[in-house]
Each structure stands twice: as structure tokens, then as C-alpha cells.
Amino acid sequence: MADQVAPDLENSNVPAAPAPPATPGAAPAPSQISQTALPRKPKQDRPPEQDPGIWRMNRRNLLSVAGWMGFFGFILASTVGALRYMFPRVLFEPPTKFKAGFPQDFVIGEVSEKYKDEKRVWIVREKDGFYALISICTHLGCTPRWLPGESKFKCPCHGSGFYKTGINFEGPAPRPLERAQIGLTDNGEIEIDRSIKFLYEKNEWAKEGSFLPFLG
């Protein structure tokens, strides 16, 4: 490599050479030197070291840039892969949609804690139908307890209290309990999907699915 560059430099130091090398301070790029100092040859005859090409890049630069692009590309791709790795595709959690038995199995006026442990849902039977409350305290996410004697939900963590309807009335909870979607299957079983929620403060308790009308 050095041998091939040497004649070029000698050329530029010849006093009779054209202007560019003589101007001090503004050192011209090597490619310009070669173009002005050497007689212009057809492109295919010029040595590739001096040919900047359309991207103004010689052979050595190209390898260097390709190398760095490969390096950073690898780092970037590995990082993206490692980040995606942290989001599992399969969750080993109970399904959000489940069947909760027949409506006749529930007693009017009672809060059923049958599905609280497994699904974190209370099923409340009133005279005119059913609703499902999600048993997650709206304060910080603990599981409140149903106290039949006082007819209220009470959270053991910070003392939030909710009426049977789910409306908050004491403690730090900022909003009522959330209701889950409740409906009937074709064979008349109650079906609850706790991934679909109805929020009182957004007036969603009037919506279809938040309440299951049932007289019987």
C-alpha cells in the first residue's frame, strides 16, 4: 500500500505542480491531489485506492464502514432481541374468561366468594340479577374481604371500605371497585370475563354486560 501512495506524494511536492498543494493551510483531500496531479486516465485504468467512487469512499473506507456497521448492527439486533426476550408469549395464569355455574345456585342478597381465591371475582346476586366485582382494591391492589355482618368489603392493607355495590365510602381508595363482564352461555351458565371491565366513574355500570338481569 505504502509503495503505491508514495509516487503520488512525490508528484504533489514537485514545484512545477499545479496550484492546490502549494496553498498552505487548506490541505486538499488526497483524492483531489491525485485527480489534479496525475494526468486524467480512463476510470478503469485508475488504481482503485485513489478512486473515490460515487459514494466518495475508497476500498479501505468501505471495509471499515462495513465492519462498524456490522458491529453496531449486531449490538442493536442483540439488544432488541434481549428486550423482546423479557416479554413472554405464554402466561401461566388462570384464564380471564370462566364459567361460574348456574344462576339458580346463588342465593338472593348474598355475595359469593367462591371464585375469589382463584379468579379474584365476587359474584353478587340481587333480586333483579347479577353483577361481578373484581376483588382488587382500587387503592393499591390488595384483596379486600367481604364482611357479611357489616355488609361491606374491607381491605386489610389500608382500611378501604366499599358497599356491597362496590362504591367506596371509607379509607384511601379513590374510586369504586371495578365490575367484570357477566353474561349467560347458551346452556344457561353464568360466564364472566374479567379482562373486560366496567368503571363506575366512567358511567360504564349502565352498559350492557356490567349487569346480568335475572329473575328466578
Binding site: 423479557m86 416479554f87 413472554p88 402466561l91 401461566f92 395464569e93 393499591l140 391492589g141 390488595c142
Partner: protein, 257 residues
Amino acid sequence: MALLDQIRKSEIYKSIFRHSYQDTQRNRALQIVDNVFLHLHPVRVPRHATNIGYTWGMGGITFLLFIVLTITGVILMFYYRPTAQYAYEDMKYLMNDVPFGPLMRNMHRWAAHAMVLTVMLHMFRVFLTGSYKPPRQFNWVVGVILLVLTLLLSFSGYLLPWDQLAIWAVTVGTNMARATPLLGHEGPFGAELGMRINNDVRFVLLGGTEVGPPTLLRFYVGHCIFLPLIAAIFMIVHFWRVRKDGGISGPESKKNV
């Protein structure tokens, strides 16, 4: 005596101890500089740096506690399995049947509580003595990062006993991550950016949509490997910067008063 002389002249001895015990300034400095462990400590300590009333020694005590926690933590790892099936039982086993198990676990527990305290007291002292001022402002920032790492280590370790207190404390703690701006599904602009309960920052922390076995494993790896490594790196920078910023800060010299 002849044997002792022979040992002192042996290749191995001279490779480890390169300087004699000559009590000269130069030799004492060389002893510190040429030792990989001692060289972390400055060769010369200013008189004011030994004034406990001024420094409280809180930074050093914090580092000591970190070392205690590293050693007892590794010891606990010999018996503890981070799976939902075994974690609580292993903790009980450590506390009841493993010889010196309670000592090791309690050392780890109390040192952890103490470390949070000493970090805060260290920060308080640095604030009171104005040691956060230039040229030490960057080290204050490193210190704040170390404070956060200490709290994260404390929080992640809290889940590992896998009892009711642990699970609910972490449930409450990670529920706050729901409200993270941009990255949490209940936070500002979270929903607009497509955050849902199963793809936001809380989901990554928990490895699921609720605290469960994947959470235990994630917190375990974070607590035992990831966070201590990051903390160690920042500690290296922290100590190095103390030296580079002119050593431990002291009272203003009498000339300026």
C-alpha cells in the same frame, strides 16, 4: 530463623510482598500503591478525613454492609430455590433447621435494613457539609443512582421469602408502575401509545399480569445478579471520583476563614 529467611528470599514470597517493612515515607507509599486492594485507598489521608464527627464514616459503613450482604447473600443462595414451590419452605428451612441459618439470614436482613439507613445518612452528611458542590457535583449524581439501586435491591429482596407480606408488598409496589408515564398502561399517554396490561413496564417487571412465579424468578435474578453488578460498577466510579475530585471533602482551611 534460617527457614524464615529462606521463605523471605523465595520467588513466591517476593512475588506477593514486593516491599519490606521499612518505615520510610517512600516505602510506605509503595506498599499501598503496589497492592491491588490497598491502592483503592489513598496513599495519604488528610488529617480531617479521620474526623468521625465530620464524616460520620457513613460511606465506608455502607460499603462494609454491601460486602456483608454480598457474602451472606451468596451463603443463602446455597439453600434457597427461587421457585414458587420451594421458596417459602426453603426460607423456613433456613430459619429452623440449617445450622447457623438464622444467623446468616438475619445478618443479611439486618444489614439490608441498615444499608438503606446508612446510605441516607451518608447523603444527609454530604448535603450538610456541602460536599455536593463543584467539583463534586457529578459524584452526587452517581450517589443518587446508587441510592436508587440500594432501594431497588431492598425492594427486590423483600419478595424472596414468598410469604403473604412479601407478595402483597410487591403487588402494591409494582401497581405503582401501572401509572408510569408513556410506559404504563394506566399512566399518562400510556393507552395512546398502545400500552396494555400485558405489554407495559409492569408486565416486564412481573413477567406476567400479576405477581406470580415468574415474578419471583425475575426478582431473584435481579436481586442476586443484575442489580449488584450495576451497583458495583457505580460504586467503582463513585470511589474513583472521590479521589479524582480532591479526596474526601474537609472543613475549609483556616487561611480562608
